[in-house]
Amino acid sequence: MAITFSGGIHVDGCKGTSTKPIEDMPAPEFVALPLQQHIGAPVKAVVSAGDHVKMGQVIGRNDNALSCPVHASVSGTVERIETRNSYIGAGKTEFIIIKNDGNYDLCEDIKPLEKNVTDLTCDEIVNSVREAGISGMGGATFPAYAKIQSAIGKATEVIVNCAECEPFITANHRLLLEHPMDVINGVKILLIALGVHKATFAIEDNKKNAAKVLEELVADDEMFSVKLLKTKYPQGDERQIVYALNGIEIPTGKLPADVGCVIFNAETCASIYHAVVEGMPLISRIVTIDGDCIAESKNLRIPLGTSYRDIIEFCGGIKGNLSKIINGGPMMGTAQWDLDATVTKGTSALLFFSDKYEKKTQPCCIHCGKCVSVCPMHLEPVYLSMFSKASVLDKCLDYNIMSCMECGCCSYICPGNVPIVQYIREAKDKIKAKQKK
C-alpha cells in the first residue's frame, strides 16, 4: 500500500501531458535572463551591452553571498541590460537580454570530467554544482550547492522527490521515463558528496511506469530504494514526504537535514549529473506546457530566458478565452501578467487557463471546517483567515500562522470561495515587516 501523510486533498491530476515526450524547443531570437532566479542574493552582471557571449558562459555571479551564477543560454551579443519587475515575486531585478546568433557556440570552459566520479571530493562536487548555477528545480529554487553543504554530516539519507503532486505538471515524470540514468547518476554524485549510503526515490502512485523503470535500474544496488506514495496533494512537500517515508515530523523551524534527510528534486539531480560529469551549467530545463487555453500541450526542454510569447507561438497559439498564465503548478504557481516574462530555473510548468477552474461566488465563510480537515500542517485556516482579515496579528501567531506553507489546500476546498491563502500571506507579510522593525 502506498504511504502518505494526514490531511491534503485529492485533486484531479489533469496529467494529460504524461504521454507527451520531451521535445527540444529551439532557442528564440532573444533571450532575457533575470539575475535573480533563486532564493538568496541577486547576482551581478559580469558582461555589458555589446559583449559577445558564448553558450554556457557565466554572465552574472556573486561569489560573496548565497546565490547561483547565471549563464548565457545561447551564444550571441548582449543587447542590453534592463530592470524589470521580477516575475517570481522578488521585486525589481535586472535582466540581461541576449540576441541569439544562431551558432550555439559552446563556452570553452565547459569540459567533461577528466577523472572518475568516485575520485571526486565533496568540495569539488559542491564547487561544480555551484559553478553550474543549479537551484532547486521543483519550484523553491534554493541553491543546490548550499543544500548539499548544509546537509554534510547531518543527512544519512538522500530523498529524491519525484512526487510531482501538483496537477498538470509531468516534467519530472517524463524525465524519469526518458532519462532515468541522468537522475540516478546525479543521485550517486550526491551520495558521494554527502558520504551517505542510502537514497530513496519517493514517487506518487500515479506514475507507476516511472517507478518501475527506476526499480529495474536500481534493483541490484542496495543503496537505492523506490517508495510509492499515495497520489495526494501536497505529497511533494518536504515535510510531508519525510513523514510519509520515515514517519518523522520535522519539528517546526527545523530543516529536513535536522532529522537526517536531504531532499532533491528529480530534475535537480539530473542537472547535477550534467554539471559534474559533462561540465554543463544549467541553461535549459523541462517545462510542461498545458491548460485549456493552449492549442497544443507539450513537454518541452526550453532554453532559460525564452519568453512566454515565443512558447505560445511554438505551441500553436492561444485558444479560447485566456484568463491566466501560471508559472508553476495551479496550486502554488504565480499568475503572470506579461507575455515578455521568461522561463527561469524554477519554471516547472507554464499553464494557460480560462476561468473554468475558478469559483465565481462572493467569498463568504460558512465555518464548515473543511479547511481544517485538509490542512497538511494541521492548522485552522478558518481562524487564520478570520484573524488576518481583522489584522489581529497576535491571534494569527497564536494559531501558528508561520507554520503555514501556503500549499493552497484550504482555498482549494473552501465552498465559500474565501481566498484563505491570500489572507494568510497578507498577515505573514505584516508579521515579517513588524519583526524587521
Binding site: 485533486v11 513523514y243 496550486m331 499568475a335 465555518h367 481544517v372 497564536d398 482555498s411 500571506r425
Partner: protein, 325 residues
C-alpha cells in the same frame, strides 16, 4: 488576450460551493419528507412549502431592505425553512411556520450578519420560540394516517408521542420496529429514522458532514439511556426507543452538524457531540419536557466557539505556543 488576471494561488478550486452543499442537504432531507407526506398526508408538504417559501422570502426582503447583496442563491434559507418545518407537528396552523421562518431568518440569522455569522441554529431557535410561545399547538401531535385538511386549520385530539409515553414511565404503544420505520406520532420530519439515516449516509458519502458529531451524540445518548433505563423496560429496548424518537436522529445528523454553529476540529466535534448527548438525556430524564434535542443543541451552539478555542489541533511539527511579549 488584452489583459491577464493576476490572483494569489491556488488557481484551482473544488467544484463544491455553498449552494451545492445546501442542495445536497435538501436532497438528503427529501426521503424523510416523502415519508412524512405518506404518513401525515399532503398537509406535511403544505407546511414544508410554506416554511421554505417564507424563509426564502424573508431572507430576500431583509437583504433588499437593508441594501445588502442577495444571498438566497446559496439555498441556506431554503434549508432553514425545511428544517423548521421538519420540527413542527403537522397539525399546526399555516401561519405558524411563517412566524417561525421570520424568527429564524431575520432575528437569528440576518441580524447577526447572515450565513456563517449566526450564533445558534436558526431553525432550532425558531422551533424553541414557537414551542414556548404556542405550547398547545406545538404539542398537538396526530396519529399517523389521520385525515387532516391540506390548508385549513385543524381541530384534532392530540395523541402522546412515544417519548411522552416514556416520560410518563410507560413503554410506547408502538412496536420498536415501527419507531424505526417512522410509523408513530411526532414532528413532520423526525419520525422515520430509516429514511433520515439514508439521507445522512448520503451526506457522509458526499463528505458534507463528518461522522464525529452524530456518532458522539448518538453514542452518548445510547450509553446514558442504557445506564438509566425507564422503569419496567428492557434496557436495550429503552435505548432504541430513546434514540428513535424525539428528533434525536434528525438533530444529530442534520442540526447539530450545522457548520456555522458547530466546532471545526475533529476533537472539538466529538466533545460537542458528547455535550449534545449529555444535555439531551439530562433534559429527557430529569427535566420537565419530554424531549431535549432542541435545547441541547442550542446550548452547545453557544459553546461551539469556546470548544474550538480549547481544542486547537496540534500543529504538524509541534510548533510552540506564541510567546507573548
Amino acid at each position: 488576450m488584452d489583459f491577464l488576471k493576476v490572483t494569489s494561488s491556488p488557481h484551482m478550486r473544488h467544484e463544491d460551493s455553498t449552494r451545492i452543499i445546501m442542495i445536497d442537504v435538501i436532497i438528503a432531507l427529501c426521503p424523510a419528507l416523502i415519508w412524512a407526506i405518506y404518513i401525515f398526508g399532503v398537509r406535511a408538504l403544505t407546511i414544508t412549502l410554506v416554511s421554505v417559501l417564507s424563509a426564502v422570502l424573508f431572507e430576500f426582503l431583509y437583504r433588499l431592505i437593508m441594501k445588502k447583496s442577495q444571498s438566497i442563491g446559496d439555498f441556506s434559507a431554503a434549508v432553514t425553512g425545511m428544517l423548521l418545518a421538519f420540527s413542527l407537528p403537522v397539525s399546526v396552523p399555516l401561519w405558524m411556520p411563517v412566524v417561525g421562518s421570520f424568527f429564524a431568518i431575520v432575528i437569528v440569522k440576518q441580524l447577526y450578519g447572515g450565513i456563517g455569522k449566526n450564533v445558534v441554529n436558526p431553525a432550532l431557535a425558531a422551533r424553541v420560540f414557537l414551542f414556548l410561545a404556542f405550547p398547545s399547538e406545538m404539542a398537538a401531535f396526530t396519529k399517523p394516517f389521520e385525515k387532516l385538511p391540506i390548508f385549513a386549520n385543524t381541530d384534532i385530539i392530540a395523541t402522546a408521542t412515544p417519548l411522552a409515553s416514556l416520560k410518563e414511565g410507560t413503554a410506547p404503544s408502538q412496536r420498536t420496529f415501527d419507531l424505526f420505520l417512522g410509523n408513530n406520532p411526532g414532528c413532520i420530519g423526525e419520525v422515520s429514522v430509516l429514511l433520515l439515516a439514508a439521507g445522512a449516509l448520503y451526506l457522509l458519502a458526499r463528505k458534507i458532514i463528518t461522522w464525529h458529531i452524530p456518532v458522539a451524540y448518538i453514542a452518548t445518548a445510547a450509553v446514558i439511556s442504557y445506564i438509566f433505563p425507564g422503569s419496567g423496560m428492557d434496557a436495550v429496548q429503552y435505548v432504541i426507543c430513546e434514540l428513535c424518537t424525539g428528533g434525536l436522529i434528525l438533530g444529530a445528523f442534520f442540526m447539530a452538524t450545522d457548520y456555522t454553529t458547530s466546532p471545526v476540529s475533529a476533537k472539538g466535534r466529538i466533545i460537542y457531540g458528547i455535550g449534545c448527548g449529555l444535555i439531551t438525556m439530562f433534559i429527557r430524564i430529569c427535566g420537565g419536557y419530554p424531549e431535549g434535542v432542541s435545547f441541547a443543541i442550542l446550548v452547545m451552539n453557544c459553546l461551539a466557539w469556546y470548544i474550538d478555542k480549547f481544542t486547537k489541533p496540534r500543529v504538524f511539527g509541534g510548533a510552540k505556543k506564541n510567546e507573548k511579549k
